[in-house]
């Protein structure tokens, strides 16, 4: 049954650097190899690269879309979820995952990181945001050096439920 598999979100910007896109594709491949299901926001950039990687290894990809049409999904999304709720869908992207891998990204990615941390969902970071709160470093985002390490950490730290 699919639901025993782990759901891991991959988040990141729609205009990644070439390095970030490569990282994302490799994250997608690794997740699929290990039998995890990939959740993302369904659009381009990091999301598309990760889905392309997952699909190349036969993995399942879910895209939780902000707009009104499934046509906006990248071509590697197998399960498009159409919300029509704009950026509020960021909340559903992370809550639908047991761990989150953040790759690069801008403020939308930061909002997803925040919603995940607020919900107690582990966040693994690759070339992404770092945080300080009132002058003190906040180390909640768990750093990874490369895509394989990020997937290792995500699968190890994934919440039980």
């Amino acid at each position: 049954m699919t639901s025993k598999k782990k759901f891991i979100a991959v988040i990141g910007g729609s205009e990644p650097s070439a390095e970030e896109a490569q990282m994302a594709e490799k994250v997608g491949r690794e997740l699929a190899k290990r039998g995890a299901i990939l959740v993302c926001g369904g659009l381009g950039g990091v999301m598309e690269a990760a889905c392309r990687g997952a699909q190349s290894e036969g993995g399942l990809t879910i895209g939780i879309l902000p707009g009104e049409s499934r046509q906006a999904a990248n071509p590697y999304i197998q399960i498009p979820i159409v919300t029509g709720m704009g950026y509020a869908r960021n909340v559903a992207v992370v809550k639908s995952a047991q761990a989150v891998i953040a790759i690069g990204g801008s403020y939308g990615t930061l909002s997803e990181i925040s919603h995940a941390l607020q919900s107690g969902i582990p966040v693994i970071g690759l070339n992404t945001w770092s945080l300080s709160r009132n002058g003190q470093p906040d180390n909640s985002i768990i750093p990874a050096q490369n895509s394989v390490e990020a997937v290792d950490k995500a699968l190890n730290l994934a919440t039980k439920e």
Copy 2:
């Protein structure tokens, strides 16, 4: 690729009559036999019966949940989407489908029927609501006499996108 398959939502109440639960289970089985993917609200009653039917035929089931935890999904949900958005998730349930089959149901189901009709998504009804607008019958809900007819109509009328 999964995304070439049709996505059909099955909506209805959490406390169906025995007849409605049987209808829902048969709808789920028929959808799975024909290769469609079942989308629902993820909880009990009609949703659970339809998912049980789909799973018995090897079909894929998606549950778009209102609360904060995937644990609330019925045991036949393979893809739990966790929104934390309460009844606002009803919008995503119908927008994620290319046609909707409504079985019985109360006001929550009526809200889903309304959101589907507002979005131009066909709604097939089994023992469900009927509508009049300012005294004139509104025949937008397409009646079906039984589960097989409902699935036939849903698959025939499913929107292209």
Copy 3:
């Protein structure tokens, strides 16, 4: 303090008949005269007519908007709430009210009626939808003959909280 005042939602279509627009304007005037605060979806048609009526009597008007910009609000909205959540904002329109007055309207209005009834919020109807469930009339929408009667009933039936 404003919060002791009653919050009443006025819902209806963006393309009302002349009669419905007149009803809506009168509902808005009556609500303002009696010190109630008008909540609506913030756009045109019934919403705008009701707000124009309320403003002509010095009433306060709140518009809970579906889009990304406060500029979309009709000119009689004093408090624009910008959700960016599309039709999911319909849920907030009715939940923010202690009673709802529905005037005419199409499927969007029907979704708001449904969400209100699901939440136990009284709905008063003027020239609007009527419902049957599995062949039995559902009389949950309380009919009113005219705008003053609708406002009377809404204020009398408004939930305490």
Copy 4:
């Protein structure tokens, strides 16, 4: 007409330090003195302190609530907006404002900061988060030394629409 006034969001945690609560109350007072309308998430802590300050100067306060009941609003909220959408309401809190003042806060506040920056809404910070993106400082959060300076900057930078 109220809508010519500026709408400023005050965001921050529900368990502020004593210093942060004082800052928030002063921010609320200053906003009210200058005729701005205060938008917040409607609950306790920074939100409540800011509303108490605003109300003491006769200002208008709006609380966009996550839950199902207006009863959860702090006692200084005059306009409770009930969304039932959980943390997805954070998007509406910032989008309903022309500038945002962040005081302390945890991950929920960080999500609001992110959604504001993503939408091009200026964010003024008092004892709050600071950000680095892939090792480079991101200075999008505009620092203020005290409550009066924060209000000055928020009113000066408020978006036109």
